[in-house]
Symmetry: C2
Subunit: 249 residues, 2 copies
Protein backbone atom coordinates (compact mmCIF):
# COMPACT_ATOMS: atom_id res chain seq x y z
CA UNK A 1 0.00 0.00 0.00
CA UNK A 2 1.28 3.45 -1.01
CA UNK A 3 1.22 6.36 1.45
CA UNK A 4 1.40 10.01 0.46
CA UNK A 5 2.37 12.59 3.04
CA UNK A 6 0.47 15.55 1.65
CA UNK A 7 -0.75 19.02 2.69
CA UNK A 8 2.50 20.75 1.62
CA UNK A 9 0.43 22.23 -0.04
CA UNK A 10 -2.81 20.29 -0.21
CA UNK A 11 -3.12 20.30 -4.01
CA UNK A 12 0.40 18.87 -4.33
CA UNK A 13 -0.51 15.72 -2.38
CA UNK A 14 -3.72 15.33 -4.38
CA UNK A 15 -1.78 15.86 -7.60
CA UNK A 16 0.68 13.10 -6.65
CA UNK A 17 -2.23 10.71 -5.96
CA UNK A 18 -3.70 11.58 -9.35
CA UNK A 19 -0.39 10.92 -11.09
CA UNK A 20 -0.06 7.52 -9.41
CA UNK A 21 -3.50 6.60 -10.79
CA UNK A 22 -2.67 8.01 -14.23
CA UNK A 23 0.62 6.06 -14.47
CA UNK A 24 -0.92 2.74 -13.40
CA UNK A 25 -2.09 0.34 -16.14
CA UNK A 26 -5.53 -1.02 -15.23
CA UNK A 27 -8.68 -2.41 -16.76
CA UNK A 28 -11.00 -1.81 -13.82
CA UNK A 29 -11.15 0.00 -10.47
CA UNK A 30 -9.94 -3.11 -8.68
CA UNK A 31 -6.56 -3.13 -10.51
CA UNK A 32 -5.41 0.12 -8.90
CA UNK A 33 -2.78 0.19 -6.15
CA UNK A 34 -4.10 0.77 -2.61
CA UNK A 35 -3.22 4.30 -1.57
CA UNK A 36 -3.66 6.56 1.45
CA UNK A 37 -3.26 10.32 1.22
CA UNK A 38 -2.67 11.90 4.62
CA UNK A 39 -3.17 15.63 4.21
CA UNK A 40 -3.07 17.41 7.57
CA UNK A 41 -1.85 20.99 7.04
CA UNK A 42 -0.75 21.40 10.67
CA UNK A 43 2.86 21.27 9.45
CA UNK A 44 4.95 24.45 9.85
CA UNK A 45 6.13 26.09 6.62
CA UNK A 46 9.29 24.36 5.38
CA UNK A 47 11.01 27.42 3.96
CA UNK A 48 10.28 29.50 7.09
CA UNK A 49 12.17 26.93 9.18
CA UNK A 50 15.08 26.68 6.76
CA UNK A 51 15.50 30.47 6.86
CA UNK A 52 15.15 30.68 10.64
CA UNK A 53 16.11 27.42 12.42
CA UNK A 54 14.74 28.80 15.71
CA UNK A 55 11.27 28.06 14.23
CA UNK A 56 9.75 24.61 14.88
CA UNK A 57 11.19 21.93 12.61
CA UNK A 58 8.37 20.62 10.37
CA UNK A 59 10.05 17.19 10.62
CA UNK A 60 8.31 16.69 13.98
CA UNK A 61 4.78 17.00 12.56
CA UNK A 62 5.75 15.15 9.38
CA UNK A 63 7.00 12.15 11.34
CA UNK A 64 3.91 12.22 13.55
CA UNK A 65 1.66 12.16 10.47
CA UNK A 66 3.57 9.22 8.97
CA UNK A 67 3.03 7.33 12.22
CA UNK A 68 -0.72 8.03 11.99
CA UNK A 69 -0.72 6.90 8.38
CA UNK A 70 1.25 3.77 9.30
CA UNK A 71 -1.76 2.62 11.35
CA UNK A 72 -3.60 2.06 8.07
CA UNK A 73 -0.88 -0.28 6.77
CA UNK A 74 1.01 1.84 4.22
CA UNK A 75 4.45 0.54 3.23
CA UNK A 76 5.96 2.87 0.59
CA UNK A 77 5.70 6.54 1.50
CA UNK A 78 6.41 9.58 -0.65
CA UNK A 79 6.46 13.18 0.57
CA UNK A 80 4.73 15.56 -1.86
CA UNK A 81 7.01 18.55 -1.23
CA UNK A 82 10.46 19.27 -2.62
CA UNK A 83 11.50 21.76 0.09
CA UNK A 84 10.76 19.20 2.82
CA UNK A 85 13.64 17.18 1.36
CA UNK A 86 16.22 19.77 2.47
CA UNK A 87 18.64 17.94 4.81
CA UNK A 88 17.83 19.99 7.99
CA UNK A 89 14.22 18.71 7.66
CA UNK A 90 14.50 15.41 5.80
CA UNK A 91 17.36 13.90 7.81
CA UNK A 92 15.69 14.13 11.26
CA UNK A 93 12.37 13.17 9.62
CA UNK A 94 13.91 10.07 8.05
CA UNK A 95 15.61 9.08 11.31
CA UNK A 96 12.38 9.50 13.26
CA UNK A 97 10.33 7.46 10.76
CA UNK A 98 12.98 4.71 10.70
CA UNK A 99 12.77 4.46 14.48
CA UNK A 100 8.99 4.77 14.94
CA UNK A 101 7.82 2.95 11.78
CA UNK A 102 10.61 0.55 10.74
CA UNK A 103 8.38 -1.23 8.20
CA UNK A 104 7.97 1.90 6.11
CA UNK A 105 10.19 2.59 3.10
CA UNK A 106 10.56 6.32 2.49
CA UNK A 107 11.19 7.40 -1.10
CA UNK A 108 13.03 10.62 -1.93
CA UNK A 109 11.59 12.94 -4.61
CA UNK A 110 14.99 14.58 -5.33
CA UNK A 111 16.75 11.27 -5.93
CA UNK A 112 13.87 9.89 -8.02
CA UNK A 113 13.83 13.03 -10.18
CA UNK A 114 17.56 12.93 -10.92
CA UNK A 115 17.40 9.17 -11.54
CA UNK A 116 14.45 9.76 -13.88
CA UNK A 117 16.35 12.41 -15.87
CA UNK A 118 19.33 10.06 -16.29
CA UNK A 119 17.02 7.24 -17.42
CA UNK A 120 14.60 9.08 -19.68
CA UNK A 121 16.73 12.00 -20.94
CA UNK A 122 20.19 10.43 -21.26
CA UNK A 123 21.49 13.14 -23.63
CA UNK A 124 20.66 16.06 -21.35
CA UNK A 125 23.63 17.72 -19.63
CA UNK A 126 22.40 21.18 -18.57
CA UNK A 127 19.40 21.16 -16.22
CA UNK A 128 17.41 24.22 -15.13
CA UNK A 129 16.09 24.31 -11.55
CA UNK A 130 12.97 26.17 -10.48
CA UNK A 131 11.96 25.98 -6.84
CA UNK A 132 11.37 27.65 -3.50
CA UNK A 133 13.93 29.75 -1.65
CA UNK A 134 14.80 26.69 0.46
CA UNK A 135 15.42 24.63 -2.69
CA UNK A 136 18.01 27.18 -3.86
CA UNK A 137 19.68 27.92 -0.51
CA UNK A 138 20.04 24.24 0.38
CA UNK A 139 21.12 23.22 -3.15
CA UNK A 140 18.41 20.53 -3.13
CA UNK A 141 19.04 19.47 -6.71
CA UNK A 142 22.43 21.09 -7.44
CA UNK A 143 24.75 18.69 -5.66
CA UNK A 144 23.02 15.52 -6.78
CA UNK A 145 22.99 16.76 -10.40
CA UNK A 146 26.73 17.61 -10.22
CA UNK A 147 27.45 14.16 -8.76
CA UNK A 148 26.00 12.70 -11.97
CA UNK A 149 27.92 15.10 -14.26
CA UNK A 150 24.87 17.23 -14.91
CA UNK A 151 25.13 21.04 -14.82
CA UNK A 152 22.56 22.84 -12.61
CA UNK A 153 21.29 26.18 -13.97
CA UNK A 154 19.28 28.79 -12.05
CA UNK A 155 16.99 31.48 -13.43
CA UNK A 156 18.36 35.02 -13.24
CA UNK A 157 15.51 36.16 -10.99
CA UNK A 158 14.85 33.34 -8.54
CA UNK A 159 12.70 35.69 -6.42
CA UNK A 160 10.01 35.67 -9.13
CA UNK A 161 9.69 31.89 -8.86
CA UNK A 162 9.42 32.27 -5.10
CA UNK A 163 6.71 34.93 -5.54
CA UNK A 164 4.81 32.69 -7.97
CA UNK A 165 4.62 30.08 -5.20
CA UNK A 166 4.13 32.22 -2.08
CA UNK A 167 2.67 35.64 -2.99
CA UNK A 168 -0.47 36.16 -0.86
CA UNK A 169 -2.25 38.10 -3.61
CA UNK A 170 -1.62 35.80 -6.57
CA UNK A 171 0.70 32.92 -5.58
CA UNK A 172 -0.10 29.28 -6.26
CA UNK A 173 -0.34 28.38 -2.55
CA UNK A 174 -3.19 30.90 -2.18
CA UNK A 175 -4.82 30.36 -5.59
CA UNK A 176 -4.37 26.91 -7.06
CA UNK A 177 -7.59 26.29 -8.94
CA UNK A 178 -7.25 28.16 -11.13
CA UNK A 179 -3.70 29.44 -10.84
CA UNK A 180 -3.41 33.20 -11.51
CA UNK A 181 -2.04 34.37 -14.86
CA UNK A 182 0.53 36.44 -12.94
CA UNK A 183 1.93 33.36 -11.16
CA UNK A 184 2.01 31.36 -14.40
CA UNK A 185 3.74 34.27 -16.16
CA UNK A 186 6.51 34.41 -13.57
CA UNK A 187 7.12 30.66 -13.86
CA UNK A 188 7.27 30.86 -17.67
CA UNK A 189 9.76 33.77 -17.42
CA UNK A 190 11.99 31.62 -15.21
CA UNK A 191 11.80 28.71 -17.67
CA UNK A 192 12.81 31.05 -20.48
CA UNK A 193 15.66 32.37 -18.35
CA UNK A 194 17.26 28.94 -17.79
CA UNK A 195 16.57 28.01 -21.42
CA UNK A 196 18.45 31.17 -22.42
CA UNK A 197 21.40 29.88 -20.39
CA UNK A 198 21.41 26.60 -22.31
CA UNK A 199 19.22 24.35 -20.15
CA UNK A 200 18.14 21.24 -22.10
CA UNK A 201 15.57 20.21 -19.47
CA UNK A 202 13.94 22.11 -16.60
CA UNK A 203 13.01 20.68 -13.20
CA UNK A 204 9.78 22.20 -11.85
CA UNK A 205 11.28 21.66 -8.40
CA UNK A 206 8.38 22.69 -6.17
CA UNK A 207 5.21 20.61 -6.22
CA UNK A 208 3.13 23.76 -6.77
CA UNK A 209 4.88 24.69 -10.05
CA UNK A 210 3.34 21.98 -12.31
CA UNK A 211 -0.08 23.27 -11.20
CA UNK A 212 0.83 26.55 -12.95
CA UNK A 213 2.59 24.94 -15.94
CA UNK A 214 1.03 21.52 -16.56
CA UNK A 215 2.45 21.18 -20.09
CA UNK A 216 5.26 18.65 -20.55
CA UNK A 217 7.57 20.91 -22.61
CA UNK A 218 8.14 24.53 -23.64
CA UNK A 219 9.79 25.43 -26.94
CA UNK A 220 10.95 21.83 -27.24
CA UNK A 221 12.60 21.74 -23.80
CA UNK A 222 11.14 19.04 -21.51
CA UNK A 223 9.66 20.25 -18.23
CA UNK A 224 10.40 17.66 -15.55
CA UNK A 225 7.67 17.18 -12.95
CA UNK A 226 9.23 15.62 -9.83
CA UNK A 227 5.76 14.38 -8.78
CA UNK A 228 5.62 12.23 -11.94
CA UNK A 229 9.04 10.76 -11.15
CA UNK A 230 8.01 10.08 -7.53
CA UNK A 231 4.65 8.61 -8.65
CA UNK A 232 6.43 6.21 -11.00
CA UNK A 233 8.94 5.24 -8.31
CA UNK A 234 6.12 4.50 -5.85
CA UNK A 235 4.39 2.29 -8.45
CA UNK A 236 7.70 0.55 -9.24
CA UNK A 237 8.24 -0.13 -5.53
CA UNK A 238 4.77 -1.52 -4.87
CA UNK A 239 3.46 -3.05 -8.14
CA UNK A 240 6.15 -2.87 -10.88
CA UNK A 241 4.08 -4.90 -13.36
CA UNK A 242 1.48 -2.15 -13.45
CA UNK A 243 3.80 0.78 -14.28
CA UNK A 244 2.64 2.48 -17.49
CA UNK A 245 5.26 2.69 -20.27
CA UNK A 246 7.06 6.06 -20.27
CA UNK A 247 6.39 6.63 -23.96
CA UNK A 248 2.59 6.68 -23.72
CA UNK A 249 2.55 9.66 -21.35
CA UNK B 1 -10.67 15.95 10.24
CA UNK B 2 -12.41 14.95 7.00
CA UNK B 3 -12.23 11.37 5.71
CA UNK B 4 -12.88 10.34 2.12
CA UNK B 5 -13.67 6.74 1.32
CA UNK B 6 -12.27 6.59 -2.19
CA UNK B 7 -11.20 4.05 -4.84
CA UNK B 8 -14.71 3.79 -6.34
CA UNK B 9 -13.07 4.65 -8.75
CA UNK B 10 -9.73 6.07 -7.67
CA UNK B 11 -10.02 9.36 -9.60
CA UNK B 12 -13.41 10.04 -7.99
CA UNK B 13 -11.94 10.04 -4.48
CA UNK B 14 -9.04 12.24 -5.62
CA UNK B 15 -11.51 14.55 -7.36
CA UNK B 16 -13.53 14.92 -4.14
CA UNK B 17 -10.35 15.80 -2.20
CA UNK B 18 -9.50 18.39 -4.84
CA UNK B 19 -12.97 19.94 -4.61
CA UNK B 20 -12.73 20.20 -0.82
CA UNK B 21 -9.47 22.13 -1.23
CA UNK B 22 -10.94 24.31 -4.00
CA UNK B 23 -14.03 25.20 -1.96
CA UNK B 24 -12.06 26.11 1.19
CA UNK B 25 -11.13 29.77 1.71
CA UNK B 26 -7.49 29.99 2.81
CA UNK B 27 -4.49 32.28 2.73
CA UNK B 28 -1.80 29.65 3.32
CA UNK B 29 -1.30 25.88 3.39
CA UNK B 30 -1.93 25.82 7.13
CA UNK B 31 -5.55 27.10 6.77
CA UNK B 32 -6.75 23.96 4.95
CA UNK B 33 -8.91 21.36 6.63
CA UNK B 34 -7.11 18.15 7.68
CA UNK B 35 -8.13 15.39 5.31
CA UNK B 36 -7.43 11.69 4.79
CA UNK B 37 -8.19 9.94 1.51
CA UNK B 38 -8.40 6.18 1.93
CA UNK B 39 -8.29 4.67 -1.54
CA UNK B 40 -8.04 0.89 -1.41
CA UNK B 41 -9.63 -0.60 -4.55
CA UNK B 42 -10.20 -3.99 -2.95
CA UNK B 43 -13.92 -3.21 -2.90
CA UNK B 44 -16.18 -5.35 -5.10
CA UNK B 45 -17.99 -3.53 -7.91
CA UNK B 46 -21.12 -1.85 -6.55
CA UNK B 47 -23.31 -2.34 -9.62
CA UNK B 48 -22.32 -6.02 -9.97
CA UNK B 49 -23.60 -6.68 -6.45
CA UNK B 50 -26.82 -4.74 -6.99
CA UNK B 51 -27.55 -6.78 -10.11
CA UNK B 52 -26.63 -10.10 -8.48
CA UNK B 53 -27.00 -10.05 -4.67
CA UNK B 54 -25.30 -13.45 -4.42
CA UNK B 55 -22.05 -11.50 -5.05
CA UNK B 56 -20.14 -10.16 -2.03
CA UNK B 57 -21.68 -7.00 -0.63
CA UNK B 58 -19.14 -4.16 -1.04
CA UNK B 59 -20.46 -2.79 2.28
CA UNK B 60 -18.19 -5.25 4.11
CA UNK B 61 -14.95 -3.88 2.60
CA UNK B 62 -16.24 -0.29 2.77
CA UNK B 63 -16.91 -0.56 6.48
CA UNK B 64 -13.53 -2.22 7.06
CA UNK B 65 -11.80 0.65 5.25
CA UNK B 66 -13.63 3.26 7.33
CA UNK B 67 -12.44 1.48 10.47
CA UNK B 68 -8.85 1.65 9.19
CA UNK B 69 -9.32 5.34 8.37
CA UNK B 70 -10.84 5.95 11.82
CA UNK B 71 -7.44 5.04 13.34
CA UNK B 72 -6.09 8.30 11.91
CA UNK B 73 -8.75 10.37 13.69
CA UNK B 74 -11.20 11.30 10.91
CA UNK B 75 -14.63 12.50 12.07
CA UNK B 76 -16.72 13.46 9.01
CA UNK B 77 -16.65 10.84 6.27
CA UNK B 78 -17.94 11.08 2.70
CA UNK B 79 -18.12 8.19 0.23
CA UNK B 80 -16.99 9.21 -3.25
CA UNK B 81 -19.38 6.95 -5.16
CA UNK B 82 -23.07 7.47 -5.94
CA UNK B 83 -23.89 3.82 -6.57
CA UNK B 84 -22.52 2.83 -3.15
CA UNK B 85 -25.41 4.83 -1.70
CA UNK B 86 -28.01 2.35 -2.99
CA UNK B 87 -29.85 1.06 0.10
CA UNK B 88 -28.75 -2.63 -0.23
CA UNK B 89 -25.15 -1.36 0.16
CA UNK B 90 -25.41 1.86 2.12
CA UNK B 91 -27.78 0.66 4.85
CA UNK B 92 -25.63 -2.27 6.10
CA UNK B 93 -22.54 -0.08 5.60
CA UNK B 94 -24.02 2.71 7.73
CA UNK B 95 -25.11 0.26 10.44
CA UNK B 96 -21.67 -1.34 10.55
CA UNK B 97 -19.86 2.03 10.74
CA UNK B 98 -22.23 3.23 13.49
CA UNK B 99 -21.42 0.15 15.53
CA UNK B 100 -17.67 -0.07 14.91
CA UNK B 101 -16.84 3.66 14.72
CA UNK B 102 -19.54 5.51 16.69
CA UNK B 103 -17.58 8.82 16.64
CA UNK B 104 -17.77 9.04 12.86
CA UNK B 105 -20.47 11.08 11.14
CA UNK B 106 -21.25 9.68 7.69
CA UNK B 107 -22.51 12.16 5.10
CA UNK B 108 -24.74 11.05 2.20
CA UNK B 109 -23.94 12.29 -1.32
CA UNK B 110 -27.52 11.79 -2.56
CA UNK B 111 -29.06 13.84 0.26
CA UNK B 112 -26.43 16.58 -0.03
CA UNK B 113 -27.01 16.83 -3.78
CA UNK B 114 -30.77 17.19 -3.50
CA UNK B 115 -30.38 19.65 -0.60
CA UNK B 116 -27.89 21.62 -2.70
CA UNK B 117 -30.29 21.81 -5.66
CA UNK B 118 -33.07 23.11 -3.40
CA UNK B 119 -30.72 25.72 -1.90
CA UNK B 120 -28.84 26.93 -4.97
CA UNK B 121 -31.40 26.34 -7.76
CA UNK B 122 -34.72 27.10 -6.03
CA UNK B 123 -36.60 27.65 -9.32
CA UNK B 124 -35.68 24.28 -10.84
CA UNK B 125 -38.51 21.69 -10.98
CA UNK B 126 -37.43 19.13 -13.59
CA UNK B 127 -34.12 17.40 -12.87
CA UNK B 128 -32.26 15.10 -15.26
CA UNK B 129 -30.42 12.09 -13.79
CA UNK B 130 -27.36 10.50 -15.33
CA UNK B 131 -25.80 7.56 -13.54
CA UNK B 132 -24.84 3.91 -13.42
CA UNK B 133 -27.26 1.02 -13.90
CA UNK B 134 -27.53 0.70 -10.11
CA UNK B 135 -28.44 4.38 -9.80
CA UNK B 136 -31.39 3.86 -12.15
CA UNK B 137 -32.58 0.48 -10.90
CA UNK B 138 -32.48 1.54 -7.25
CA UNK B 139 -33.96 4.99 -7.95
CA UNK B 140 -31.08 6.58 -6.05
CA UNK B 141 -32.17 10.14 -6.82
CA UNK B 142 -35.74 9.64 -8.04
CA UNK B 143 -37.55 9.13 -4.74
CA UNK B 144 -35.73 11.86 -2.83
CA UNK B 145 -36.37 14.32 -5.68
CA UNK B 146 -40.10 13.41 -5.75
CA UNK B 147 -40.28 13.85 -1.99
CA UNK B 148 -39.22 17.48 -2.51
CA UNK B 149 -41.67 18.05 -5.41
CA UNK B 150 -38.94 17.80 -8.02
CA UNK B 151 -39.53 15.75 -11.20
CA UNK B 152 -36.83 13.18 -12.05
CA UNK B 153 -36.08 12.74 -15.78
CA UNK B 154 -34.04 9.96 -17.38
CA UNK B 155 -32.22 9.97 -20.72
CA UNK B 156 -33.84 7.90 -23.47
CA UNK B 157 -30.79 5.64 -23.78
CA UNK B 158 -29.52 5.04 -20.24
CA UNK B 159 -27.30 2.22 -21.55
CA UNK B 160 -25.05 4.78 -23.28
CA UNK B 161 -24.38 6.50 -19.95
CA UNK B 162 -23.56 3.10 -18.47
CA UNK B 163 -21.20 2.38 -21.39
CA UNK B 164 -19.51 5.78 -20.94
CA UNK B 165 -18.67 4.74 -17.37
CA UNK B 166 -17.91 1.03 -17.76
CA UNK B 167 -16.88 0.20 -21.35
CA UNK B 168 -13.53 -1.62 -21.23
CA UNK B 169 -12.36 -0.09 -24.51
CA UNK B 170 -13.26 3.56 -23.91
CA UNK B 171 -15.13 3.97 -20.59
CA UNK B 172 -14.12 6.47 -17.93
CA UNK B 173 -13.23 3.77 -15.37
CA UNK B 174 -10.59 2.42 -17.77
CA UNK B 175 -9.46 5.76 -19.25
CA UNK B 176 -9.83 8.73 -16.95
CA UNK B 177 -6.87 10.95 -17.83
CA UNK B 178 -7.72 11.85 -20.45
CA UNK B 179 -11.30 10.63 -20.87
CA UNK B 180 -12.02 9.28 -24.38
CA UNK B 181 -13.98 11.44 -26.82
CA UNK B 182 -16.40 8.51 -27.24
CA UNK B 183 -17.24 8.44 -23.53
CA UNK B 184 -17.62 12.22 -23.39
CA UNK B 185 -19.85 12.09 -26.47
CA UNK B 186 -22.20 9.55 -24.89
CA UNK B 187 -22.51 11.66 -21.74
CA UNK B 188 -23.26 14.81 -23.76
CA UNK B 189 -25.93 12.89 -25.73
CA UNK B 190 -27.60 11.89 -22.48
CA UNK B 191 -27.53 15.49 -21.21
CA UNK B 192 -29.14 16.63 -24.45
CA UNK B 193 -31.75 13.86 -24.10
CA UNK B 194 -32.94 14.99 -20.65
CA UNK B 195 -32.73 18.65 -21.74
CA UNK B 196 -35.01 17.72 -24.65
CA UNK B 197 -37.50 16.37 -22.09
CA UNK B 198 -37.50 19.69 -20.22
CA UNK B 199 -34.83 19.17 -17.56
CA UNK B 200 -33.80 22.50 -16.02
CA UNK B 201 -30.78 21.00 -14.24
CA UNK B 202 -28.90 17.73 -14.71
CA UNK B 203 -27.33 15.62 -11.96
CA UNK B 204 -24.07 13.97 -13.09
CA UNK B 205 -24.96 11.14 -10.70
CA UNK B 206 -21.86 8.99 -10.93
CA UNK B 207 -18.57 10.36 -9.67
CA UNK B 208 -16.90 9.42 -12.97
CA UNK B 209 -19.20 11.61 -15.10
CA UNK B 210 -17.79 15.05 -14.12
CA UNK B 211 -14.37 13.75 -15.20
CA UNK B 212 -15.83 13.52 -18.73
CA UNK B 213 -17.88 16.73 -18.55
CA UNK B 214 -16.12 19.14 -16.18
CA UNK B 215 -18.02 22.21 -17.38
CA UNK B 216 -20.66 23.65 -15.02
CA UNK B 217 -23.43 24.05 -17.62
CA UNK B 218 -24.46 23.05 -21.13
CA UNK B 219 -26.66 25.28 -23.27
CA UNK B 220 -27.56 27.26 -20.15
CA UNK B 221 -28.63 24.20 -18.14
CA UNK B 222 -26.64 23.73 -14.92
CA UNK B 223 -24.77 20.43 -14.57
CA UNK B 224 -24.86 19.38 -10.93
CA UNK B 225 -21.73 17.64 -9.66
CA UNK B 226 -22.64 15.63 -6.53
CA UNK B 227 -18.96 15.67 -5.49
CA UNK B 228 -19.12 19.47 -5.23
CA UNK B 229 -22.23 19.24 -3.05
CA UNK B 230 -20.60 16.58 -0.86
CA UNK B 231 -17.34 18.57 -0.66
CA UNK B 232 -19.23 21.66 0.51
CA UNK B 233 -21.22 19.62 3.05
CA UNK B 234 -18.00 18.13 4.46
CA UNK B 235 -16.51 21.65 4.81
CA UNK B 236 -19.73 22.91 6.42
CA UNK B 237 -19.64 20.03 8.92
CA UNK B 238 -15.99 20.46 9.89
CA UNK B 239 -15.07 24.16 9.40
CA UNK B 240 -18.14 26.17 8.30
CA UNK B 241 -16.32 29.54 8.52
CA UNK B 242 -14.00 28.43 5.71
CA UNK B 243 -16.68 27.45 3.15
CA UNK B 244 -16.18 29.43 -0.07
CA UNK B 245 -19.20 31.49 -1.20
CA UNK B 246 -21.26 29.61 -3.81
CA UNK B 247 -21.20 32.53 -6.22
CA UNK B 248 -17.44 32.64 -6.71
CA UNK B 249 -17.28 29.11 -8.12
Amino acid sequence: MIGILGAMGPQAGIDLASKIVAHTVVQSDQDHIPLVLYSDPRIPDRTAFLIDPSETNPAVAMSHHVQKMALTGVQYVGVACNTAHAPPIFEPFRASVAEASPNITLLNIIQETVTGILRHYPHVRRVGILGSRGTYEFRLYDDLLLKHDLVPIRPEETEKVVAAIYDKACGIKSFSSPVSQQARGWVLEAIDSVAGQGAEAVILGCTELPLAVPESSRNGIPLIDPAVMLARALITASAPDRLAPWSVL
